[in-house]
C-alpha cells in the first residue's frame, strides 16, 4: 500500500545523490543532484537533473538541500524528492512522459512536514497545522489534504480537519473515512 523507498545509488564525486530508473517510452533514465558552493556571496544552491538515454530533460535548481530521492513502485514515471530549508520541507515530484520524452515538475510545495506518499490509491497526504500534546515534544497535524494523481497531475480532491482524538498513526484513515471510523470532519476545498 505504501511507497517503496529506494536507496539512492552511491553518488559520483560531483553529485550529492543519484538514482536510476526505467520508464516507457523514454527508456533508461537517471536523476542526479549536484550541490555547489560556486558563489560564496550567493545562497547555497543544489541542482537536480533528469536525463534519459543520455539526453538532459530537466534541470531544477533550489536553495533547499536534498534529504532523499525515491520512486513509488509501480508508478515509475515519477521521481519524488524531499528537501529541507529553514524550517520547512520542500516536496517536489518530477515526471518523465511523452514521446519524445519530456521532464516536468508536477508537484512542488513548501510544507510543514513531509507528506505521506501512497501508491494504492495513487495519492499524497499533505498534512498541516500543529496541535501540541501536553508533555510531549512532537505535534500532530490539524488537517490533511488528499491529492490524487489524475490525468498527469495532482488534484486536490479532499480536505479534512482532524478531531482531538487523532493519533499520528491515524493519518492514513482518510483513505477510507467511513470504514476506518476516521476522527475527521470534511473541510471545503481551497
Amino acid at each position: 500500500m505504501f511507497s517503496h523507498v529506494l536507496c539512492a545509488q552511491e553518488p559520483d564525486a560531483h553529485s550529492i545523490a543519484s538514482l536510476d530508473f526505467k520508464v516507457s517510452p523514454a527508456g533508461d533514465c537517471s536523476v542526479r543532484v549536484n550541490g555547489g558552493e560556486t558563489n560564496p556571496n550567493g545562497p547555497p544552491t543544489q541542482v537536480l537533473t533528469i536525463s534519459c538515454q543520455g539526453k538532459r530533460l530537466l534541470s531544477y535548481p533550489t536553495q533547499d538541500a536534498l534529504v532523499d530521492l525515491f520512486l513509488n513502485y509501480p508508478h515509475d514515471d515519477r521521481v519524488f524528492a524531499r528537501w529541507e530549508g529553514g524550517s520547512h520541507v520542500r516536496f517536489t515530484i518530477f515526471r518523465v512522459s511523452g514521446n519524445p520524452s519530456v521532464g516536468t515538475v508536477v508537484f512542488d510545495k513548501q510544507l510543514e512536514g513531509a507528506p505521506d506518499v501512497v501508491n494504492t490509491p495513487d495519492v499524497l497526504l499533505v498534512h498541516s497545522g500543529r496541535r501540541w500534546l501536553d508533555g510531549q515534544a512532537a505535534s500532530l497535524p490539524t488537517s490533511t489534504d488528499v491529492y490524487r494523481w489524475t490525468d498527469g497531475q495532482y488534484l486536490l480532491i479532499e480536505s479534512w480537519r482532524w478531531k482531538e482524538a487523532m493519533r499520528y498513526e491515524d493519518r492514513f484513515c482518510v483513505l477510507d473515512v467511513k470504514t476506518l471510523s476516521c476522527p475527521v470532519t470534511p473541510l471545503p476545498l481551497k
Binding site: 529541507e84 530549508g85 529553514g86 524550517s87 513548501q110 510543514e112 515534544a137 512532537a138 500532530l140 499520528y168
Partner: protein
Amino acid sequence: MSPYFPPTQVLTGMISSLNFSGQSNKLIGCIVSTESSGRPGAKNPGSSATGLMGVEKIGAKDVAQHGSGGTFGGMNSSQLYTHMTDPAANIATGTSLLKLKIGYAKGNVQSGLDSYGTGAPYGQNELGCANGH
C-alpha cells in the same frame, strides 16, 4: 494563521540578547509562536525541524558555514544541530539563519521569511503578526 503564543518574560529576554537577524524581537517572537508555540523541545514528526524556531539540520549547516551573527564555539553543523533543543542556541542559530535567508533574498524581508518557512504567505503572516503585537 496560527494562534499567537506570546513569549514568556524569560524568552523575551533571551530573544533580545540573541537576536542576530537584524529584525525586530517581535518578529522573532512571532516565528517562535508559529514554529513551536514557545516549546524549546519541539520536534516536527515530518522533518528535522527542532526547537523554538524549528531549525533544521541544513539550517544549522548553513549557519555553521556562513553565519556571521553568532558565535558557536567553533561547532560544526552536526554539533550545532544537536543543541537545537537548547533555547539559547536555537534562537542564536535560527536568527542567524534568518539573516542569511534575508540576505539570499537580496534584503527582501518577506521573501527571506518565505524561504525560511513554508513559502508565501508565511512572510506576510509573520510580518503581520509582528506589526500586530
